[in-house]
Structure formats: C-alpha cells, structure tokens
Symmetry: C2
Subunit: 579 residues, 2 copies
C-alpha cells in the first residue's frame, strides 16, 4: 500500500502521527518561504507544507511522508482543515501534463473539451459526488429488494429483434451468417418468462439499448431497475416499490418523503396538470372554464372544445411587454398554442383582461376565481381541443413554476399515476397502440370493453398500469401483465399485429403462457434519471461515467469507428455507404 | 396479494390457521377417496388434501384456501412435511398444457428439448438452487466490496473495437453510417481510466462479450466480477480479494477456506502440477526423474529434454489391459503424448516396469521413490520437451485424480498462482504475446530485462500478475498495471504493435496516462464459473438463466435471426451471404 491514510481522514486527534499519503496535486503555492500543497484523492484534500519547494505541478501524482501538525490558521470548510502534514519526504509517482481545463468544482472547460478528456472531468468533485450517489443508490436498491425476497437474475444481452417501441441495435452473427442478434430495449419478455418459470420475485439493474434519434438528454444505452412479481395485484406492486423509494430517500439523502405517496388517476393528472407526469411541488392547477366563457360572443372561445386556465400567483403586475413575451413563448412550435388570454386580478380587487369587451367585470372575476386566482394573481387562459390544450397549459404551468421559483430541486414530491388508458388511438395510422406495452392487462372490470369491436369501447378500457413520477419527471412505470395466452392473442389483434407476426416475434412467450403462467406484474425505473433527480439535477449526463454525445458518439474513445475489411468479410457484410 | 403464505413456510405451529396459497401443481394423486396435491412455488412444496377431486393437472396454476392441519404420516424430508392444508376452495388461475418433460429434480427431457423450453426447465429445483446461489453470491460480493470502499461504476457496452484477445462483436451505427461500435470483451481500459480519474476503488459485475468459436462450456456473453484499485501493490490486491472469497464461502456456503490461501509461483505450478491452474485437493505431484533415467541406454529417454513421473496411489494392481487403455488415453490428440512408461511398485516391495531391460531393479525402485511412490503405487512416466511433457503429465494427473475419487466437489482448495512470465514467445508467429494482457507491468526488479532487446532477457521478465485457482479451475486473474506512458509504449513495441496501431486503438488510454496516472492494479473473476464451482458443478450452463448453445444460438427465442431489408438499408449494410 502506498499510503497509511487517505487525503480525507486526518483530524486534529491525529496530530503528531507520522503518515504517508498519496494523491494528486490540486495546487501548490508559495507563501513566506513555505510551499503549501493541496493533495487530493477521492476521499478529500489534505494540506501539505514544506520549506523546500519540491517542484511539483498541478495533477502530478505524488507520495509523501510527514508528520501531522495542527494548523495555525484552520479552515473550517474542510473536514481536514484543522491539520496539515509537514513533508519529510516526497516521491513523485507520476508527472502530469497540464490538464486542458481546471479540475475544480466549476471547470473552465467547455462541454466538448471535457467530453474528450472525460477521465479528467471525472476528477472534479461534482462528478465524483454524482457517481458516489449512483453507487449508493444501487446498493440501497439491491439491499432492499434482497430483503423483500427478490432475486437478481441476469438476462441475455444478445437477443432477438422485436417490434413495438424504438429501433433495435443489432449485432451480426459470424457463426450464423446472414443473421443478427438484437440488443434488448428492455428485458420485458425475459422477466415475464422468469415469472412463468416460478422465480416469483425478480429484479435486475440492467443496461438497455435504443437506436433512436437522440433528443437532448437521451442516451443510446441506459440503465433500468427492472422488477417483476408473481401472484400480486397492483396494490402489492405499488406498496413494494413505495417502500424501496422511501428507503432510498432516507438512506441515501436523509429525506423523509410523503407516506403514503399520493396517487392520481391519469385522467385527473391530465385535467388538473395537463401532464401525465405532474410536478406537484406547487399548485397552480388547471381549471376548465368553458361553461363560464362560452356563449358570450367571443368566437374563439365559442368555437373551442375546451377552455382552461391557470392562476400565476402574484403576477397581476406583469407588464404588457411581459405578457406579450409569454404569448410569444406559448406560440413557439415547442408549445404550439394559438394564443393566450389573460386576466389581471389586481390587488385592489379590480380585473383587467384581454377580452374585456366580451364579458362584464363580474364574469371576468368569476372566471379568475374559477381558475383559483386571488387578488394579485394573473390568470392565463388557453383554448382548443381538450387534451391538446390541457397539455399546452401544463407546459405553461411548468414554465411559470420555474419563473416563480416553485421548483426547488431539494424538495421531493413523488406521486403515483394510476388508471391509464390501455390503448391510444393514432389518427395518423388509424390503429391502436399500447399506451404502456402490449403485455399490459386491461382492468378486470373493463374486460367486456376489451373484447368489444367498437372503438369507443376500446378507448375507455383502463389498464392496471402505473407510473412513478417525481418533481415532474417520470422515473418509472409498469403494469399488471396479461397472463393468459388467449388474452394476449386478443391484444395482438387489437394492435393489428398479425398472427404470423406475433408468432414470429413473440411465439416463445405466447407459447410459454400455455404452460401455466401465474398472475404477475412489475415495473421498471430509469436508473440514470433516478440518480440525476436524487442529485437535484435535470440532466443525466453527469450521472453516467462515460456517456455518449447527442450524435451517439463517445468522443473520448472515438467510437463508433470503421472496422477493417477482414472483419466485414467474416460477418458476411458489405457497406452500402457511398464514399 | 394472491396468498397469505408461500408454499415453503407452513410448520406444525401453524396448524389451525386458515391460509391462502398459490402455486403450481407438482402432482395430484388419489388415495383412499382423497386427492392429494403437491403445490409448488419458489419457496417449497406444500401438500394439499381434499375429498373432492378438483380435476387439476400437472403445472396448472391454482390458488387455494384452507386450514393447516397436522399430517397423519409426516414427511421428515420436507420442511413443510409436518402439515398439510385441507382445501376449502380452489381457484384455477391458469390451466397448463402438459409439459414436454418432467419438472423434477432429474428431468426426463433431453438437453435440446429443455433448452427450447428453458422457462420450464428453470422450474426444476436444481436450476432454482443454482440461480438462488448466483443471486446470493452477487449480493455477498457487492456487500463486501462496498464495505471495503469500492464503488460500482457502470462502464459502456457500446465501445470501440480493439485488438489483442478474441474477436469483437460489433454493432453497426445507423446515425454514423459505415461505422460500428464494439461490445466489450472486458471493461479493462475503462477501469484503468477510472483509476486515472481518481476513483481509487472500482468494481462492477458486468457482462462481457467474445465472438469466439465456442468450445464446450464457453458462452458468447459471460459475466465478470471486475475490480481495480489505486495506490496498491500485489499484496494489497491479493489480501482484498482473499477476504472477498473467504466471505463468499462463509456466508453463501458456510465453508471456511484455508487462511491464508496458499500461493504458488507459476514455475512451481508447472513443475509440480503441469498446469497453471493446479487442483491441490490431492497430491500426486509431478517429479522430474531425468537424472535417474538418462544414460542407461534407453534411447527414448536419452533423447528427451525432460522425463517426469507421477505416482498413482494404490494402482500397482492395474492389469495390463488397464495400463494399455491408459496408454491409449494419453496418446489421444487431446493429450498428445507419444507413450507411457510405467513402474508397478508392488506391495511386496518388488518393482516391475515396462523398461526393465534397461535398468536394474534398484534403479527402477529409485525412480519410483523419486516419483513419491510407496508400496502398492503405480508410477506413470512421460518424456519429451519440458513444458509440453509437464502439461501432459498434468492432464494425466487430473484423470487419475478423477479415477481415484480425489476430486470431491464439496471440498474447496483455493490457490493463488503468482510470478507469471510477462511475455510468451510464439514460435509460429515469431513474436511475443502478453501472457496476461498488454497493460500488465513487469516486476520492478526485472525492469532492466524488459528494456533489453535480447529475447532471453525478455523471456525471463516476470509480471506482478496473479490468478485465483479453485479445484483446478482458473476463476480469475489480474495484475499490477503499467501506469507510465513510456513503459506502456515500450510494451507495445515488445508486442510488435506499431505506434500508429497503438495510437489508433489505445490512443485515449496512452494519452490519459500523461495526465497523472496513479500506480494501480486489479483483477477480474469469471462470475459464471465462480457460481458453478461454488455449486459443486463443472459446467456453467445451469448457472446462467438463459444460456446459448454451442452454436451461439438461443433456441428458446430462436436467435440470432434475419432482420428485414428496411433495417439493413437503414444501417447501410448488405449481406454477402449467398442464398
């Protein structure tokens, strides 16, 4: 061992001890004939002092021996701030080139440069904290699930291309020319097979792969906490994973979350928050005001299916310019609203709106109050098709929440969304899609609709499906699954998946269900995002040791890259890229 | 929840309780007007009894309610054998087709059939025990390493094709046409970068991939316990992982292994056991007898570089036929020996050998005693080039160990092999290969030879490399790494890897080493094999939930398979397979 102690552990009680430390030179400075060196490792920073300048540079790796002494001027911000080590001997273990950016809490390096030198960026304290939190959370998850009788079972990565959902990454097989494995988008079918196989409670912290065009903060490979249980109903699943989340918050962050975690139906979430992943750290709920504003001669409202409003606390003083800016903001394609009607509910009790000529002040006031506004608030109104308008109001609500500072990352407001519709009709494709996935069961009480051929019936079938939402982000979701072969066939019918296609792609699972599948259900959490949100961040990149950029590239190792012709030939592949 | 209790937990103390159980029908039989059903789940089997035959078949999934009653004829072999449950209500949750083979401790199904219906094979108790052991071991590993300050850090699966070692599986990139990711053969470079990044102690239980022609008991994807530590010497690494193994044996099996675990140099292992992974559960060591047998006119010995012998305990009574059979056995291509000379050291003290005409009885006896034989033993002698002959004797030794019942799978004899040669000369390629891998450091005291240009010098360089061996199987290995850019360049030179090639393939890690790499080292264990050996088995397939067959196929999901032309086009790929 190159050291007797780490750079994070020496205290005043150690004064007088002779120690050996090893680590990186954070900085070295001269002061009054002395040289002070901050020596850094994963565990902390310790100040070294010597009369002879050892001539070491930033990020050199050194080993020193010396005596722990009490500091003259203590640093209460550092855990080791009461002491320093008087160097007796320095051993340079490795010199270092000057890093291309500063290794500090906040670096001066740009994103691309830091990505290229990820191994240097990873030395910075925020990333070390992020990965330490990730490790801690993974341990907590495993400990909890192990205690609950779950078995971690590894499922294969070289599997079979399946439809539904995103594109698969594929892996050409050299031993089976002309054929390909696929990398799993999730272990969904395998975990269901494990239930058929009687494993009762399964989990895995597992990598998943999706070959999607990458939007911001998506990764082609990501990690999932994947779980499945047999002989359970929805209530059992929710309770089990509520317990897991509670333990994670408590043990990793020292935070007590709501008990029980509130539950909200998908319909309520859409109506009140315009989102299936509402941020309930703040109110500002959406209220439908259609009844109050229709039939008064304002043709925009009169011709709308739905009119809804939110009340932005204390914003009655917004200037014309601010409101215009907000109107432009909702008209951007990302939101896609046609316009924005406002009501200022002034602190003197008077009202002022952009549609004053169609309504009496009493009518306007009634709308403001229906929107939940009090004196001093600004009411923002949008109209159009119901779900679309609610969604736009939901986006505006989040924006106002940000502007008003309601979205404190150190406050944690978890929520279960339940009672999802089973199916989603696509006008474009004129077919149903599974809202969760094609293995989700309809609620038993809705089964008669599920076997109906009428579109309206199918649309109102709900699933025993659930999402776990935290601070406006969906962290996970799952469902009670179909466990009968006949119901699974019906599902494929409803989704327009032909018998042949179903047989080709899911034959093994349809078949497996014929040999005694237990009732089962489960869920999966996006672990990268869990880590980021627990860390109070919105982006996942700092919580992944070696992430890829928005083009799916790892710029540090310069991948993907070309492979040589020999390898192409062995795989029986030719490139069709025109050079 | 569909049950109040599992099928494994009811005891006599529960008699009188009303319970609900759910599970699979193991078997149902009628006896004296009663129907007895064995109900099975992951936790055990409970006997149910009813006067009304519920008409359920093998592997049906049922839920029953009833009263726990004391059994008339108890079954002491079953943990629940003191009780049975008197059925009051049966609820068939799912019918089942009759499975194609029996779901018993030993199935009547052939290997291929069981592979196709893996989800049914996985219901059998031996596989349930295997996967439960695997889960337990994984938990023990994580708990131990967490306590030792290791962080589990996930490294990417979509990386870059690298040379050395086996063929990579590759993944075409749709977003970067004409380029490929590679799946990792191990996270070797990433774990070293994590050391450069200051993470100090890293581990991961991680999938690795090798596109090799599959020998028996190899899998294209396999799981590794991957570990790395900074500021350590070989002694620290060995102590840390010796502790891990000790805890795994104790907590998962209740077994206390040798403390400390013995260590043996690679040279001693080859000389004494003819193997770099000796099974030390038994002796029967190899002894060189060249000095004793050369120069007596037996030309086969006289012309051999090396003559070695083992003594098979109590085999002096072997018949001529048995010895002939053994001679044929060593002549098979798998062993490749030219022949076998024997000495019977009879229980009356006399000797009889196949080369009696060249030696006096005293000479023969001296050879037998040099081989460690006592009266009643059979001495087996082989000759030829030294290492080759030792290896053949090693294979024969293992065979004799099997025949003599010396290889009890419930006895655990771990061993560290140390002091490996750094390099291995290939006569065929006329170049050196790295014995471990190109990142392994030479022993500091051998550095002058490492920088020499003489082949003899390079051949005697030892590495601070080590293997963990259990019962004749290598379970893991590792080394102290090179941490200086200059030494790494020298290594590439010695291995004949050009500067351009090294730069293209390892540029990022060579570069990383310039920014302050700490001294570091680590190791990796093959987790599948660890599980199998802990379970007392030689083959890993039962310890992997969904393994592939010897053609790399998953016959259950029928993968790999063809993908459609659209997907090929999107990936800019064409197949060159002739239909």
């Amino acid at each position: 061992m190159y050291r007797t102690n780490t750079c994070g552990e020496l205290r005043l009680a150690d004064a007088g001890k002779k120690v050996t430390l090893a680590g990186w030179v954070q900085k070295a400075r001269k002061l009054g004939g002395m040289t002070f060196i901050d020596l850094r490792d994963r565990y902390g920073i310790t100040q070294l002092v010597t009369e002879d300048d050892p001539g070491v540079g930033r990020e050199w790796v050194i080993q020193i021996t010396g005596e722990v002494v009490e500091r003259q001027s203590k640093n209460p911000k550092m855990p080791t701030g009461d002491i320093e080590v008087k160097i007796e001997k320095v051993n340079v273990l490795n010199k270092a080139q000057t890093p291309p950016f500063t290794i500090e809490e906040n670096s001066d390096g740009g994103e691309d440069l830091r990505a290229k030198y990820r191994y240097l960026d990873l030395r910075r304290a925020p990333l070390q904290r992020a990965l330490a939190l990730r490790h801690r959370l993974a341990q907590e998850i495993r400990t909890y699930l192990d205690q609950q009788g779950f078995m971690e079972i590894e499922t294969p990565y070289l599997i079979k291309s399946t439809p539904e959902g995103a594109r698969d990454f594929v892996v050409p097989s050299r031993m089976n020319p002309g054929t390909f494995y696929a990398l799993p988008q999730s272990p969904q079918t395998f975990k269901q097979l494990l239930m058929v196989a009687g494993y009762d409670r399964y989990f895995q912290i597992v990598r998943c792969f999706r070959d999607e065009d990458l939007r911001a903060d998506r990764q082609p490979e990501f990690t999932q906490i994947d779980c499945e249980m047999s002989f359970v109903e929805q209530e059992d699943v929710l309770n089990t994973f509520e317990g897991m989340m509670r333990q994670m918050f408590k043990n990793a962050l020292g935070v007590e979350i709501a008990n029980p975690i509130p539950r909200m139906s998908w319909y309520d979430a859409m109506d009140k928050y315009g989102s299936d992943k509402p941020d309930i750290r703040f109110g500002m709920e959406i209220h439908e005001v259609s009844e109050l504003v229709k039939g008064c001669g304002f043709s925009v409202f009169d011709g709308s299916e739905y009119i809804g409003a939110i009340a932005a606390t204390g914003c009655a003083e917004y200037t014309r310019k601010q409101i215009d800016e907000l109107t432009e903001w909702v008209k951007r394609p990302q939101v896609g609203a046609k316009g924005l009607v406002y009501i200022k509910y002034n602190s003197d009790g008077s009202v002022k709106s952009s549609v004053d000529k169609f309504y009496t002040p009493e009518q306007v006031k009634a709308v403001a109050e229906a929107a939940g506004a009090k004196e001093g608030d600004l009411v923002l109104i949008m109209c159009g098709p119901k779900r679309k308008t609610q969604t736009q109001l939901g986006v505006l609500r989040i924006e106002m929440g940000n502007r008003l500072g309601y979205r404190d990352p150190s406050v944690f407001a978890p929520l279960w969304i339940v009672d999802f519709p089973l199916l989603e009709w696509s006008e474009e494709d004129q077919r149903f899609y599974a809202m969760h996935h094609p293995f989700t069961a309809p609620k038993p009480e809705h089964e008669q609709w599920f076997y109906s051929d009428r579109k309206e019936d199918l649309e109102r079938v709900c699933a025993n499906a659930y999402d776990f939402v935290l601070n406006g982000t969906e962290l996970g979701g799952g469902s009670i699954r179909i466990h009968e072969a006949q119901m699974q066939s019906r599902m494929f019918d409803v989704l327009g998946i032909s018998k042949e296609d179903a047989e080709y792609k899911f034959g093994f699972i349809i078949n497996a269900f014929k040999f005694g599948a237990p009732p089962h259900g489960g869920l999966a959490f996006g672990f990268d995002r869990v880590c980021a949100l627990f860390g109070g961040q919105e982006t996942i990149r700092d919580y992944i040791a070696f992430p890829k950029n928005n083009q799916g590239r790892d710029v540090m190792i310069d991948s993907p890259s070309k492979i040589d012709q020999v390898q192409m030939d062995e795989l029986f592949l030719a490139s069709t890229v025109k050079e």
